[in-house]
């Protein structure tokens, strides 16, 4: 499967074997694969846009592989945190389809601005999953060059990155990299809670006024830590967009195909000069907010169970099985790969060195600062004063 461009290849296409027009469920929700693994031929967005995908078997299998790997690596990180190897972990459990679908819809030159939970998008960008673990282990504060990976650093301050994404997208326009088939686009990830932040709404204003080639991708996982969606809004979030002058659509965020289709369309519109749009990926945070959180304090088991039935991976597997696109050997092989990669990840986390304390004085300023030089020197002298002592 062509990384970042599964829609671009041919071979044995298997478009919507069990054709079914319009999701059985919510008319507001774009869905192309039901929780039972039934393919829906095409779905219509609120503005009449038709969404469909046309994947090869190979590509379907690739998406399944992504989903399984992303979940497994995430579980490994959670385990590492439980064992004290990470200080914290924000699991994406339940949100794999939204992330893999949107992540795979990105082209190589598109730029993504994640929150702290987009491990799945990161994976789809072809980035080593070890990369964000320094932050969560506490050995660095992010530590990568956004431009190298076309993936911004994780952003913890809620909503701040949506403005960065907007500015970046304005820069795409200023660079003349918009309006053609090989135009560029940016995507800003954020949560349902984030929609209440001033910054996110200012990003909506800016993106609209400057017609920025940007996709706002909101993973509505129903919670902002303990607060359910109704603490942030009383209408569906995708509707926020219209009042700012651009389209919004709600997609089944547990459906990797629909998530892909909707994001791909939005990105293509953006790169062709049609400006920003908002995607609300309707999903659910199956686990805790982070490893520090205890969700039993604020939500009931039955709610979680009801979402279990909408699992983003099971439905793809059901589809692959029913359509005989994949067999037991394939599933076993994917599981084995996931196991291998997670073991590999674990090994590398365990061997991540602690930073030298004195490095904390580095990289405060590109041009340095005499104050820090002085503090670094003092610190070194101070540390040396203990050398040889029992300290």
């Amino acid at each position: 499967m062509a990384k970042g461009d599964p829609g671009g290849t041919t071979r044995s296409r298997r478009a919507a074997p069990r054709s079914k027009k319009g999701a059985a469920g919510d008319p507001e929700l774009v869905q192309l694969l039901t929780p039972e693994g039934e393919r829906i031929d095409s779905a219509t967005g609120p503005d009449g846009t038709e969404y469909r995908v046309d994947f090869t078997d190979e590509e379907y299998r690739g998406l399944y592989r992504d989903l399984v790997l992303v979940r497994k690596l995430d579980a490994e990180a959670t385990a590492l945190q439980r064992q004290g190897e990470l200080g914290l972990w924000a699991s994406l459990l339940g949100q794999e389809a939204a992330q893999v679908g949107s992540g795979r819809a990105l082209r190589a030159h598109d730029m993504a601005f994640p929150t702290y939970r987009e491990h799945g998008v990161l994976y789809c960008r072809g980035i080593d999953p070890i990369m964000p673990l320094g932050l969560f282990r506490g050995v660095d504060q992010g530590g990568w060059d956004p431009n190298e990976f076309k993936f911004n650093m994780y952003t913890i301050v809620i909503g701040a990155q949506t403005l960065h994404a907007t500015g970046y997208a304005m820069g795409i326009t200023m660079d003349g990299k918009v309006g053609t088939d090989d135009g560029e686009a940016a995507i800003a990830y954020f949560g349902d809670g984030a929609t209440s932040q001033g910054d996110v709404n200012e990003a909506f204003v800016w993106a609209s006024v400057f017609n920025a080639p940007l996709v706002f991708f909101c993973q509505n996982n129903q919670y902002a830590i303990s607060e359910p969606l109704e603490r942030q809004t009383r209408v569906p979030l995708y509707q926020r967009a219209a009042g700012f002058g651009f389209p919004g659509v709600r997609v089944d965020g547990n459906d990797v195909l629909a998530s892909y289709a909707v994001t791909r369309t939005a990105l293509d519109n953006a790169r062709h000069g049609q400006g920003p749009s908002l995607i609300e990926a309707y999903t659910y945070r199956m686990g805790a907010h982070t490893t520090s959180d205890d969700p039993t304090r604020y939500r009931i088991a039955s709610e979680v169970e009801s979402w279990q039935a909408k699992d983003p991976i099971l439905r793809v597997r059901a589809f692959l099985e029913k359509q005989q696109i994949a067999d037991a050997t394939f599933f076993a092989e994917v599981d084995e790969q996931a196991r291998r990669e997670s073991v590999h990840l674990r090994e590398r986390v365990l061997s991540m060195p602690n930073p030298e304390p004195v490095t904390m004085f580095d990289h405060v300023y590109p041009n340095g600062s005499p104050l820090l030089d002085e503090q670094r020197a003092q610190f070194n002298r101070y540390m040396e004063s203990f050398e040889g002592s029992a300290h």
């Binding site: 660095d140 913890i156 830590i225 607060e227 304090r297 604020y298 304390p357």
Partner: protein
């Protein structure tokens, strides 16, 4: 007898409960303060007992929290706002420094904004970025705000109630790494008899060096004093408690006796509280000082990765090192 052993966090929780009981106008607002009881459980159980009109889970936006609290205060309420972590107060900065701080002045004294802004602050808990900030200088430099912090459960219990009862807008900094530390709390002593909110306190008398600290660093300094005593040096430790206004009467008196002063805080050194303390003590005790006032602080870098925070934060050894230097000047 109502003296109980409580953690600092539980003492705050109990103090908040008392405030909600005492005054029906007191309300608590913030992210996750309701069902969850806050990420540090400081508001645990309060929504259950006082209802969601008094303990309000807000939308996720700090400017909104403080801005609506201003309106509620105009309406006669006494909002106690929780900011989830120190690093997340900045979206509310405009509301705090341009609105909350100035309302009383702008109105020519006709309107008060009796608001408490609770912020867990400081490092030492192994957190990721934005979760270990020490923003006290930003607020203490701001005219119109008062700023206090507590270092032990007893103070936590009393000071939070005093802050809520005060008509001044108060930034209440909670030393998050001390939330789990225990101490005796007298739950019965009437608030009216309590030690004044804006007064510093000598927490260990001594004769050789005056050590000034607040919040999380008080304990560090007390430990340093214990260690110093073993070496025959008596540190006088003062818990400032009020960061704005500062109460330096005890400090002046102390420094005039000891001739030496060390100021300790986690926040970066440059234009921090330590600078102000050094400047004022020097002005007041100019002829008594045997050495300049020395500062032991976080460094002037962004808060570093958790695995090096131990070296970033002032600890017992760094305090003692500074004490030594005041003698070697």
């Amino acid at each position: 007898m109502a003296t109980e052993t409580l953690t600092l966090g539980k003492a705050l929780n109990t103090g908040l409960r008392r405030a909600l009981e005492t005054d029906p106008k007191v309300i608590i607002m913030g992210e996750d303060v309701g069902k969850l009881g806050g990420v540090f459980r400081i508001t645990d159980g309060l929504q259950k007992d006082f209802g969601d009109q008094r303990v309000i889970d807000t939308p996720l936006a700090e400017s909104g929290i403080i801005g609506t609290a201003v309106g509620l205060a105009i309406r006669g309420y006494r909002p106690v706002c929780e900011i989830q972590f120190d690093g997340f107060v900045y979206p509310a900065y405009d509301q705090i420094v341009s609105q909350v701080a100035k309302m009383h002045y702008r109105s020519g004294g006709r309107l008060s904004i009796p608001m408490v802004i609770r912020i867990p602050f400081g490092g030492g808990i192994g957190a990721v970025e934005h979760h270990s900030e020490s923003p006290e200088a930003y607020f203490a430099h701001t005219a119109g705000l008062k700023v206090v912090t507590c270092s032990n459960p007893q103070d936590a219990y009393v000071m939070i109630q005093q802050a809520i009862a005060s008509d001044d807008p108060i930034v209440f900094l909670e030393p998050k790494r001390r939330y789990w530390e225990k101490g005796q709390v007298d739950l019965d002593a009437p608030l009216s008899d309590a030690y004044p909110l804006h007064s510093a306190r000598v927490v260990r008398p001594g004769t050789d060096v005056t050590v000034l600290a607040y919040g999380p660093m008080v304990r560090t300094c007390l430990e340093a004093a214990t260690a110093a005593a073993e070496d025959g040096r008596e540190l006088e430790v003062i818990d400032l408690r009020s960061l704005s206004p500062l109460d330096l009467a005890a400090a002046y008196e102390s420094v005039k006796r000891t001739g030496r002063a060390v100021v300790v805080h986690e926040a970066p050194s440059n234009i921090g509280l330590g600078a102000e303390l050094a400047a004022r003590i020097t002005e007041e005790c100019f002829y008594s000082l045997e050495s300049p006032v020395l500062r032991v602080t976080g460094f002037d870098t962004p808060y570093p990765a958790a695995r090096v925070e131990e070296e970033y934060l002032p600890d017992l050894d760094r305090v003692l090192d500074a004490v030594d230097r005041t003698f070697g000047w």
